[in-house]
Symmetry: D2
Subunit: 405 residues, 4 copies
Amino acid sequence: MVSEKVLLSGHIIDSLILPKVLDEITDLGGTFAIEEIHVGRTRRDTSRACIEVSATSRDRLERILERIKRQGAVSVEPGEVKLVRAPRDGVLPEGFYSSTNLQTDVQFKGRWIRVRNPEMDCAVVVDTKARRAATVPMSDVRKGDRVVVGEQGVRVLPEKRAEETDEFRFMRSRTSSEKPKEIMIHEIAAQMKSAKRRGGKILVVGGPAIVHTGAGRYLERLIRKGFVDVLFAGNALAVHDVEYALFETSLGIYLDRGQSAEGGHGHHVRAINAIRAAGGLRRAVSKGILKKGVMYTCVREKVPFVLAGSIRDDGPLPEVITDAIEAQRAMRRYLKGVRFALMVATTLHSIAVGNLLPASVRTVCVDINPSVVTKLIDRGSFQAAGLVTDAELFLRELSQTLTGS
Amino acid sequence: MVSEKVLLSGHIIDSLILPKVLDEITDLGGTFAIEEIHVGRTRRDTSRACIEVSATSRDRLERILERIKRQGAVSVEPGEVKLVRAPRDGVLPEGFYSSTNLQTDVQFKGRWIRVRNPEMDCAVVVDTKARRAATVPMSDVRKGDRVVVGEQGVRVLPEKRAEETDEFRFMRSRTSSEKPKEIMIHEIAAQMKSAKRRGGKILVVGGPAIVHTGAGRYLERLIRKGFVDVLFAGNALAVHDVEYALFETSLGIYLDRGQSAEGGHGHHVRAINAIRAAGGLRRAVSKGILKKGVMYTCVREKVPFVLAGSIRDDGPLPEVITDAIEAQRAMRRYLKGVRFALMVATTLHSIAVGNLLPASVRTVCVDINPSVVTKLIDRGSFQAAGLVTDAELFLRELSQTLTGS
Amino acid sequence: MVSEKVLLSGHIIDSLILPKVLDEITDLGGTFAIEEIHVGRTRRDTSRACIEVSATSRDRLERILERIKRQGAVSVEPGEVKLVRAPRDGVLPEGFYSSTNLQTDVQFKGRWIRVRNPEMDCAVVVDTKARRAATVPMSDVRKGDRVVVGEQGVRVLPEKRAEETDEFRFMRSRTSSEKPKEIMIHEIAAQMKSAKRRGGKILVVGGPAIVHTGAGRYLERLIRKGFVDVLFAGNALAVHDVEYALFETSLGIYLDRGQSAEGGHGHHVRAINAIRAAGGLRRAVSKGILKKGVMYTCVREKVPFVLAGSIRDDGPLPEVITDAIEAQRAMRRYLKGVRFALMVATTLHSIAVGNLLPASVRTVCVDINPSVVTKLIDRGSFQAAGLVTDAELFLRELSQTLTGS
Amino acid sequence: MVSEKVLLSGHIIDSLILPKVLDEITDLGGTFAIEEIHVGRTRRDTSRACIEVSATSRDRLERILERIKRQGAVSVEPGEVKLVRAPRDGVLPEGFYSSTNLQTDVQFKGRWIRVRNPEMDCAVVVDTKARRAATVPMSDVRKGDRVVVGEQGVRVLPEKRAEETDEFRFMRSRTSSEKPKEIMIHEIAAQMKSAKRRGGKILVVGGPAIVHTGAGRYLERLIRKGFVDVLFAGNALAVHDVEYALFETSLGIYLDRGQSAEGGHGHHVRAINAIRAAGGLRRAVSKGILKKGVMYTCVREKVPFVLAGSIRDDGPLPEVITDAIEAQRAMRRYLKGVRFALMVATTLHSIAVGNLLPASVRTVCVDINPSVVTKLIDRGSFQAAGLVTDAELFLRELSQTLTGS
């Protein structure tokens, strides 16, 4: 039987951290003894517990500690972080520390260093000269990088739930279409304004149904009014948007008389071809070929966008980044400074972006399919909330709330 | 090998009736020979086909004829309707004709008589003295009633698809959340206005989520402005509505700060008890206990309602009809004159009412769950369309379109 | 500012009760101070906390106490239960205590009396002579019954999570179709066997899709092998089952060649009529008309069933209880002794039965639609678990595991 | 008013082609006159119609002809195909013909040439020397390629529905979880055997839930018994499979005691790293690192696989093709000779592969979420059928049917 003492502190009862930690210890076959506990008298006060964790083998104990440290448990004697060099490009040393999306520190030469760009499932690489640490995705690790190995000297700082508004807590509470959407849409609008006020950026991640359903115009308004600082989407959203912009009549008929979506059958490939012939979306705008729509508005308003490719794509449009790893890198570059992320009607992109975001970014995922929302929330951070509703009517309402039209 | 000749006429190609009929013949093990076909030159022209249906046994042939006559096939020599007396109350004679929800005639003493109150899965009873025919549900048949037996002398008149607007056809086309809702909501508003203009009544069938999500106010507006002639719901919608009306503060908090639905835990039973103590919803209104909400508005505006009980109910409220067969009878009474039925966020009531409605009533079913919408449409008539969207945002938009607020 | 002290004890940290209680206090606008806390050193040890709850008004404090007592908080000085007579049949006194589905005691004349038949949202009526207490549904309360009013003298005993197997905890963890079903089906089989071994009864609640999909035969096997002590269903399950039993060929074709469900169109009303003519299911069995199927097997094996009516029903069959309140009463009668409840492919009946069940009955809800499962679990007790899977393949696997075929 | 005559022949009534064509003409604002119609007397006989299509402008007429030719309408005087050279790599000439996934011929120098590799939304390129034609995806078109422009000289041959078994028609009929799965699984097994017997290949497209739910072992059996000729999947399926293979105990615990999926948190990145360190899946097998699982079985049985990357991926594994367009090319290479495609529990890959497949490949899509199935079927060909069921239990049953274990 081996054991180790850890400390838990903060809002550990209120935010369910203490029960979760005790659960995980026994789930993984360990036992615990609470040596000492101090519970805050009121909600504002923090609590603190000292827990002795025991297991039948060192291995099992390590696994338990790995898990509970992700919840914020800190070794009583954290020690120095252990660094091992990456053996090859894109390959990590055995036993590497796999990061969370929470704020994390490593103890290096007796001082705690903050790890930059918190992101799930990455390596933590320490620049020993500059005394800096950062997450690095496996495929970007270079031979010789000093990679953190094991849990020693690593400290995770869980997000505080206490700061949330009641409305946001409510949104996060349970994924259901039976909650009043109006108050949630107002809360989202309030959070978007607040993010802007504090100098933060707003990221919108959108799926093609936004354009299909005629809600592109609401997204355009949000872009024009400065509520979108960067847009992530796939080829399909851009293609449908361009198709609408180029084939007015056919789609005019479609949207006015409600013709079946098959109506524009050939159009989407023609739209792609037209943009390819022009040399891309930006050039199609400057040449006067593309004169309206979401992509046009992004180009005119100088709102950057990342179009990530997928195997479902036709064409694709020239701006689409067809390599998945390159697309991830491009998205990471634009995540700096993002404080609020709104994901609308896209499973693939929502989950992909969710994987890249630090837990500190308020994230709202909107979809009519509850299983999409649940999937994201389940992987997501403390800060993610879901809204099961109609993307078109949602954007209409959000645009009215934020822009008055 | 036995065979019989049938005629099909009308928009039988355009509305897929001919292919369906040929399909059913072979599906049921028969064969066909098209003796003669005259296809209309243009869309407005009707077509006409004479088909010889053959099968290996009289039984099989009868079964095939039963099925294809539901699509409008008419025997070349229809003959007189056969009547057999019901052996006991609530029991039909062997081989009774089971009705469709389409317009139907029976040939009695050489004349075609229209069958009143088209409704699925009923018996057709002929009053031989008055020379009248009507559908009668099995449980309402009385001993000695003259019930139509077999297919002979029965003629079904399929609905004409040609009269539909393009928008309504589009709504009916495919059940998907990815269709533009705005144009569909405007089409629903146009159909509601048109039904009123032509002297028809509008039926709303609603589920409790309307109140849960705060959309009760939009339904109230529709009632006040005369767009609801009768409301069908269950105990739950009324209870949640009363709870909101009576416990302002608790639900005020709930809707403003977004507290979890558990918040009002005890309230719904207290609300039921308060209405039971008052002697019912109508008396609670006249006593000044119930002062707002959907049910209050119905009572004040003299809009009749049927609250049908279910085994899920708490209480229930005194106006709830707890017997399912009695509730069906009450609903049937109010269906006279209904030209448009709007079903929002309720599976049980939508399907129950769908079973009672003649195919000639334009029916729109709105739910965020596509499987609910599909279920109704699949059983439903030609005239049913589905909208996969958020009930709250749908009612908000519909109320704005129809009432300007 | 008013305040009151409460005690919480048991596995209050491990089972999340303490954090939930603290959450609810602040959610409802109160504040708390933890006067004393003793946390069990290991998982087996219980913990204990003394909490002072404060609020700005007596009313608010009462509401908070009402809520947290449902989680097991006990007043330091519980006092005597307060009883007020019911003013009329079916009407409760103002301020009545609304029950939970957890084990509950009331303090009467200085002694704790156990409340019989725990059921949600009922009144608690005390027989002062016999010194007995029981839950009574609102509609069954008689004028003059002594009804518990307020929270005083009431104590709720939360279920212990600690006794669960890991497999059952896993089943309860998260509603997803992506969990391994095989281990869950084996766990269900184990729980069913264990319930039988301990002399408990097994309740099955089933929807018509069981028969539609051809899984009726697996349910029959479970009935024959003694794994079903009582069956709750609606008219539809029984009708489809009888239709299959009576119209072999037509449904033989249907199930062998896979004809569309419309195939049996007329058959279901003919099946109903045949059973009505026979005088009911039991008489149809004794007369040799009904010779196979789920209902036949129930009759032959003397397994009681309750068929509850709904407004969707055709017919209905004579055994169907069309009055919802009567149907609830019939179901309550059969719940005595039930230790395990299996709900398959029915939303309406699952939720209705879930409302009637004490929290101590292990409940498993199986449906392919995750929203049905979530709905039940959300209202459900601690003891409910959900399985998002195919009802047909589930029953096949369960029957193979339990009966070897 | 301009007009043109077209011929329609084949099973045009039975397979709904005639009504669809008439519908599309009027939908797109044209009118029609049926000049002549000959309807087959029996099901086996083909029918034939000559239709004059008219429209107010040449443009509109062209659009109508484009659409109805996709249904098999053939110009009375088809003329020679028009060829225009591609202006640049990856850019098509204005007015290019956008292909269907149906068998297509082009008339070149007075002879009909079959277009190879039918695939949706591609260009048709004619090699004028070799007198060959083939579909070419836009991104693979090279400057100077002779590309078909307009509809002239193009003839589409619709699939014949008549050859289907009743069971397959039933599977295709309506997407519902309420159909008997057992007969559908047997039909799938029969089709897989028949495809093999006729020398065709079977393609399986799978999502990670196959491994999550423990159904990997059934897929392995199918591979070992020769029922899988090529496997398409993403990084996630392979990663979860490797994680299971490498971390036996942790996942042994997971699958036996039912620990939450978070259990293996760190493991999946460690699994990826281990395979990267080994130099890929194939080398991990040959080095004895990877000893079981789906990917191992593919390598051992020499079953080729394509792992297509997505922006959701961690790692990824070395064999993953991260560029979407490259991945499409790799998949196209393996589609040659495929006669049956089984898609299980993956939206992204199912739709992507559906886009690449000719309509002649029998395709079955299995998912527990009906909207995934509907999405594929809606885009899919005549030959696609959907099964709404549990992937794990489906594979178990299919494996038992095909391999006896």
